[in-house]
Point group: C4
Chain length 340, copies 4
Amino acid sequence: LSDPFNVHDYELLARERLDDNAWEYLRGGAGDETTLRDNIAAFARWKLRPRVLVATDRIDTSTTVLGTPIAAPIVVAPLATQKLFHPDGEAATARAAAAAGTLMVLSSSATMRPAAVAEAAPGAPRWFQVYVFRDRAITQALIDEACANDYGALVLTVDTPILGRREGALRVGFHIPAGLEVAADIFEGLDSSIGWGDLEWLAGHGLPVVLKGVVTAEDAQRAVEHGAAAVVVSNHGGRQLDGVSATIDALPQVVEAIDGRAEVLLDSGVRRGVDVLRALALGARAVLVGRAMAFGLAVAGEPGVRAVLGLLRDEVELGLRLLGCSSPAEVSREHVEWRP
Amino acid sequence: LSDPFNVHDYELLARERLDDNAWEYLRGGAGDETTLRDNIAAFARWKLRPRVLVATDRIDTSTTVLGTPIAAPIVVAPLATQKLFHPDGEAATARAAAAAGTLMVLSSSATMRPAAVAEAAPGAPRWFQVYVFRDRAITQALIDEACANDYGALVLTVDTPILGRREGALRVGFHIPAGLEVAADIFEGLDSSIGWGDLEWLAGHGLPVVLKGVVTAEDAQRAVEHGAAAVVVSNHGGRQLDGVSATIDALPQVVEAIDGRAEVLLDSGVRRGVDVLRALALGARAVLVGRAMAFGLAVAGEPGVRAVLGLLRDEVELGLRLLGCSSPAEVSREHVEWRP
Amino acid sequence: LSDPFNVHDYELLARERLDDNAWEYLRGGAGDETTLRDNIAAFARWKLRPRVLVATDRIDTSTTVLGTPIAAPIVVAPLATQKLFHPDGEAATARAAAAAGTLMVLSSSATMRPAAVAEAAPGAPRWFQVYVFRDRAITQALIDEACANDYGALVLTVDTPILGRREGALRVGFHIPAGLEVAADIFEGLDSSIGWGDLEWLAGHGLPVVLKGVVTAEDAQRAVEHGAAAVVVSNHGGRQLDGVSATIDALPQVVEAIDGRAEVLLDSGVRRGVDVLRALALGARAVLVGRAMAFGLAVAGEPGVRAVLGLLRDEVELGLRLLGCSSPAEVSREHVEWRP
Amino acid sequence: LSDPFNVHDYELLARERLDDNAWEYLRGGAGDETTLRDNIAAFARWKLRPRVLVATDRIDTSTTVLGTPIAAPIVVAPLATQKLFHPDGEAATARAAAAAGTLMVLSSSATMRPAAVAEAAPGAPRWFQVYVFRDRAITQALIDEACANDYGALVLTVDTPILGRREGALRVGFHIPAGLEVAADIFEGLDSSIGWGDLEWLAGHGLPVVLKGVVTAEDAQRAVEHGAAAVVVSNHGGRQLDGVSATIDALPQVVEAIDGRAEVLLDSGVRRGVDVLRALALGARAVLVGRAMAFGLAVAGEPGVRAVLGLLRDEVELGLRLLGCSSPAEVSREHVEWRP
C-alpha cells in the first residue's frame, strides 16, 4: 500500500498508526458485530439505476442541511474523543470540515470544549451533539457553551440511554489515556429516564433539534410530532444494539413516515460516494461520516480529514455524473432498486 | 483469551477443559449439522427495531413461567448427564440456577437422581423432564420421585421417539465414563409408541405438562387441545432431525396457533441476550439455555453456570434498555422484523 | 477417518482408492459445475416439519415403484461403466441391490451385458436404461436382451441427446481403460434426432416406459400424454447442462403437472436419508442413487454397495420416525417448507 | 494447466502473459468491484429449463444483428487499446472475428485507425464504437473514416460521460506504453454535455445507431423514441459506476420496455455458452464479449481470439442441443427461471 485511493486504504493506514486501545475504540461494535458488518454490506444490495445521455458537464455537489449550505451531502459525524486518534483532535477536524466547506457535528464527549473547537474554525458551520447526563448541570453547561459559540443546531443522540457493550474495547481494556480530558464522560452518568417530553426543554434553547438514532417509522412519526427539525437514521455505527437493521435498510420506512415534514440524514457504514448516492436516492438529504473521517485524522491530522472529505466529495461528483444527475436534488427513488 | 466476555468465550474455554468424549457430546448435532448451525444463524436474520426516548431507568427483567417467578426470561434447559462436564454435575447447576433466581429443568437422563438435585437447592423452583421408556416402571419411578420432591411441572420431550444420530459423538466413540451413573439411559429403551393419548396419563400426576419439541402450527394446536400448559419450540439443539428449521423461524407459526391458550418457550441456539429479545418479540415467554449453561459448568462448576446466567441476564437488561422496553412484557411483535 | 459413518465418508474413501481417470468420471459435472453443487445444497433449503407424539414403533420403509416392491424408497441409478470403480462392476451392484431388497437400473453403457447382470442376481427386480444410438441396431439389441432377461421397465434417458462437456474428465484425459468393454459407447453415436413420437416405438416392447431427465412442468405434461408410466426428475447429476435447477427445486412443478397420472422419481445429489424424505414430501415415490452407490462400490465392491444402501435405508427409517411417519406414504407436502 | 478448456483457462493464461499494467487495465472494475463480480455471479441465479425429446440433430447457431448475418449470437465487443494485449492488436481481432463469421465492433480508443482495421479483414462485417469528445473534430474524423470504410453501424457508448475510477489500474500506475498510439484518448476529453438530442446528429451519418450502456426501462423507452436501432444492455464490464445491477438482471426490464421496437444486445460478464443462452432467453438477440476475447488475444493473437470465439460458439451449440432448441430464435422466456 502506498498512496491511499479510497477510504479502505485510509482504514489500513489508520490501523498501522493507532495503538490497540484507540483502534478498538474506533473499529469496534456491540455484541457479535452483526450490525457493524451489515451496515456496510447492505449498501451493496441497493443497486444504482443510472440514466444516460443526460448532460452532466456542470455538476454541483452542494446542498443544504437545515438551511446551512454545505459543499457536498457529507457532514462530519459527532465522533467522541478525537484526541485518541491525533493530538490535534477536534480542532483538526473542525478546520478540515471548514476547508471542505461542510458542517461538523461536535460530540458532547469531545476532548475539546465547544468554545475551543469554535475558535479553531471561526465562522464555520457546526452543530453540537447532546448526551443527557443524570447530572443535568453537565449537559446544561455544554449546551450553553454551544449556544454561546454559534453552534447552529442541537443533535440529541437518542439511541444511547446507556452505552452499548463493545467487547473488542473491553478486551483491550479500553481507557482514556492519561493527559486527555473529556468534556463529558459517556462511560458513566447517562440518563436513561429521558423521554419525548424532554424535547421541549431542549428546543427551549432556541436552536433546531435533530434526533440522532431513529430507525423505525413509529419513532420517525413521533419525532415530527415533537418538533424535530431533522432526524438521523443511525444505529451508532453498530456500537449500541447489535441486531438492528443496517441504516440503509431502515431509511425507507423513516423517509415515508416523515413524509417531508423534517429533514432526514443517515450515518453508519458510509465508505463510498456511491453509498451517499444510495442514501440520497432513498430520501436522505445528506450523510454523516464518523469512522471514515477518523481514519483520515489518524493518518495525518487535519490534512488527513481534508483528504478523506475531498475523496468522498470527488466520488460523489463522479457518481452523480455517471448516474446522470447534476446535483443531489436530482437523485430520486427511481435511481435505486433493491436486489437480494 | 483471558476473561470470558460472552458465551462464545465460555465455549472456547469449555473446549479446552473437556476431553473429546464430553466435548463432542455437548457440541454435536445430528447428520450434517445444518440445523445445529442454522439455529444460531437464523437469529441474525430477525432484526431488532428499537424505540427511542422511552424512559428505561427502571428495568425489571423478571417474568414468570407457568406462574413461577424467574429473575429473567432465561431458564436452565434439561441437559443430560452433566457430570460429564463437571464432577458436581446437576447439583452445581441447581445451585447456580437458584442463585440466579431462575428455574432448572432436570433431565430424566441426569447423572443425579431428582431427589438429590432437589436437596442441592432446597426451595428453588424446578421442573422435571420426562422421557418415556419402553419399561414404563423406569419412567414412573422418576416421575414419582420428582412429584415427591416439589418439581413443579413435567416437561415431556416429544422430539425423541428415538435418539438422533450424532455422528461426531459416534466418531469419538462416545460413552458414559466409568463411575458415572445415569438415572435413565436414553441410548436405549425409549418408547416410540407413545402418542397424544398418553398425555392424559402424564397429566394425571397433578402437575402441569409442558411439551418440549413442538415446531409446527399443527402440533401446537394439538398440544392445546390435549391440555398442555406450555410448549417449548425446540429441535433439541439440532441433535435429533437434521434439516428442521431453526427454532426462531418456527416460533411464529407456533405462537399464532397457540393464540394465547398456553405459554410458549423456546430453546436451541440461544447465545446472546438479543436472541432472548427476538424470542420474546415473536411471542415466547422465556428461553431455555442448555449448551451455554454447560459451557459455564465445564469451565467452573457452579460459579461458571452462575456467571453465564448472570451474563445473559445482564445482556437481556442492556438489550431491553436499548430496545426501549422496561420489562419482557413490553417486547412486542413490532420490535422485530425479518430480513434475508 | 476410520469407519465410514455416512455417504460423505464413503466419498472420501472412494477418492483414495480410485485413480484420477475413474475419480473424475465419477465426481465431475458439466461446465462450471454450478448444478453439480446446487443439487446438494438445494436440499438444505427445504426444511423438514416433524410431527410429534405419533406412534412410530412400527416403521415400514418399504414401498413400490411401478408395482415392484422395494425395501426402501431408494433405487440404484443407471450409472455407466461400473468396472471403472471395481472389477466386479455391475454384477456387484446387482447382487448388492438384490440383497438390499431394491431395484437396480442397468445402464446401456454398462461394462457388462444385460444378460450377464441378470445372471448375477437372478430373480431380483431390475430395469434397463436406454440410450438411443444413431445405429438403432445397437439400441434394439440391448432392448431385446433386456426384454429376454426379465428387466421390468425401460428407462429412456432424455437429457442426453449428446454428452455434456465434463471438463474435469477432459482434463485428466478420460478414457475407458484397456480391458474394459462397454456394451454401448455413449461417447459417440447418440441420436439427437429422437422425439416424443419415438416413445411409441419404445412402448411397443411391452414394458412400461420411464422417462429420465424431465425437469419442467411442460415436459411432465407431455410425458403423461405420451404414455410414460413414470418420470425421473434428473439433471444427470449435473453432468449434462450446467445451469439447470437442482432437482429438488424442479420436483414440485413436475409433480403438480403429472397430477398423479404417473409415478415421479428423483435423482441427482441425494446423499442423506433426509434428502429422500424431502423428495417424498414433495411428491416423489422414490429416489435413485448413483454416485453414493458407486462410492460404496469403489470402496468394497458388493459389500460396499450393500453398506451404502443399508446406511441410507437406516437413515430413512430414523428420519421417518423423527418426522412422525411410519411409512413413505405418510410423508406429505406438509412435512416440508421452503426457506431461503 | 495445459490446454485451455474454457474461458477461465484463457484468463489464467492471459494473466501469465501480461504485465501488471495491461492486466489491471483488462481485469479491473470501478470502485469496490461489486458490479464486476456480480456481472458473473448473477448469471448462475437464472436457471435454465431444458426441454427433452426435441429433435436437435440439426442445430443452426447463426442469427443476425441489424440484418447482418453472424455465425453465432456472439459479437466482438469494442474493447479499447488492444495492442496492450498483443502486438497485432485490433487487426488480429478483426481477422479472427471474420474467420469466426462474426462481427467486430471497433473502439474509438483503438490502437489502430478504422481504415487500417478494415484493411486487415476486408469484407468482414464491422461496426464502429463512438465516444463523443469535447473536441468534436476528433469524433467527426473517426466517424467519417468509419463511414468511408464500410462500418455498418455506429455504436454510441452512453455510460461514459467521464471515465470510471478503476482503482486497480490507478494502483499500478496504468499508462499507455511508449510506442502505442491511441486513435482517441478516453482518459481525457470526453464530453459529458451530450444528450438525447445529439442522437440526430449521429443518425445523420446514414448508419443505424446502437446505444451501448442502457440498463433501465426508462432509458430503453427513450432510446426507441429517439430512433436507436438497437441497445446494448451493458455496465461497461463493471468499469464505470460500481453498484449497478448485473446486466443479466437489468435485461428483462429493458426488453419489456423496448417491446420489439429495436434489437437488444447484452455484454458484461459473459464467460460461458450458457450465459449466452440465458441472455437469449431473456430477450437479447446476441451478446458481446470483450474480456473473454482479449484473454485469447493475449494468449495467442489472432488464433487465440479465434479459439475463444470458436469455444464459445461450440458451447452455445452444445447448450442449444441440451436445452432442446435448434436455433437462437427458439430460445424463449420459458427456457429460464430466476432462483435466489
